[in-house]
Subunit: 214 residues, 2 copies
DNA sequence: CGCGTAGGCTACGCGCCAGTAGGTTACGCG
DNA sequence: CGCGTAACCTACTGGCGCGTAGCCTACGCG
């Protein structure tokens, strides 16, 4: 009689929770919130369904916990990369590099944050938006700060918040593009954005404004 | 005996289809594909549910038809605005203005295209991506064309496709921002982007590349 | 004035899936 | 060695919502 291979058994709660969250991120990122089924998550996690409910609560709870964990990871990855003592452009550059490195390393995390999070209407779609807003405000602080140094104030051609929204959007969109082009390094991606944005911004600061021609 | 107010009756098929599509866009944009219910759409349309199925098919069919109608509207709005005989920067500027005007005028159309369309995995998420890719390639053509004039070729600092992806993302993101700031005109929004992108791009063309400092 | 057809509805079936009831086995500790 | 408790499962239910069967009614046309 061959002894049965033991299916990993009697693990402490903390370990199981991590397994479940990992599986959930994977399945949510692949199928989206609504299409993903708790049965499949439990299967991928190698755990039965009631475990999920006793440990992590309802489907919505589970999703929220995924989002929060991945968001925290992302923000920490960026903050670890940026060096506050450097000039604004280098801060931005390092932040962007860390961001693209994270996206490349944790595709599923990024997908679940960027693509799937908005699809669950209501309560914590707001939470995601809040996180995104924080990112925008952070960038805005950089930009406005750099602008203020040169005496760029409330002109019609300038809105720190608006420009930051555009910049963040550009970064996100480029991240999606990069998922299909894994050969492009994070340094190159960050450089593209810097060339686009920082140079243009510098011109603005110098008063070199683009105007429509007749 | 007061005569009953007649509930709009016996309308021709084409009219009903429009009513249904209008209602569907509204409901889908508010709740998203999965959360939206056919019952609510029928209610908003002022029509019973079987009508939707006989006229427009399944829920997925209905959503696809919404997407296609709104996408066509958007692309036409942009193409009507742009004048091909103008120089590249002015073409881009007019295209952007038309885009922001559209978003302001048809918020629901934009929402359903941008936010909700990606949430339905599979078949025609691809369709949306295709449309977006077309937009990116269009912009890329503009950019590459303008770059080629100045002899900017395959440098590490340059990728028409990548930059275009970033630009489109910036435009979309700014559109979302603008939804919360209705007082900002389409001309101003377009100018911001031109200042960011075109000036930076011009610098690139001139060989003025941003490089990280030690 | 009858009959075909296009416009329209109420009311139901049925599958899928989030969530649960209730029971079983291993481990820790006195 | 027995008792509490924490880990873990199988097997069910209940509801929500897509899609439809079947029926009614106004209008046009000979």
């Amino acid at each position: 009689m061959t002894e049965e291979v033991q299916r990993a058994r009697r693990l402490p709660r903390a370990v199981r929770e991590r397994q479940i969250l990992d599986a959930a991120v994977q399945v949510f990122s692949r199928y989206g919130y609504h299409t993903a089924s708790m049965d499949e998550i439990s299967e991928v996690a190698g755990v039965s369904k009631p475990m999920i409910y006793t440990y992590l609560g309802s489907k919505e709870d589970l999703f929220a916990k995924c989002i929060r964990r991945e968001a925290t990871r992302l923000l920490e990855a960026i903050q670890d990369g940026v060096k506050p003592e450097l000039p604004p452009d280098m801060q931005l550059w390092h932040g962007l590099r860390s961001f693209y490195r994270f996206v490349a390393d944790f595709r599923e995390s990024w997908t679940v944050l960027h693509r799937q999070a908005l699809t669950v209407g209501g309560e914590f779609a707001a939470e995601i938006t809040a996180m995104r807003t924080r990112a925008i405000e952070l960038v805005a602080a950089l930009v406005v700060n750099a602008g203020a140094r040169k005496g760029l104030a409330e002109q019609a051609e300038f809105s720190g918040e608006g420009l930051s929204a555009a910049l963040v959007g550009a970064a996100e969109s480029l991240a999606d593009w990069a998922l299909d082009h894994p050969d492009v390094s994070d340094g190159v991606l960050a450089s593209w954005l810097m060339n686009l944005v920082w140079l243009g911004f510098n011109d603005l600061v110098e008063g070199d404004v683009w105007k429509p021609t007749a």
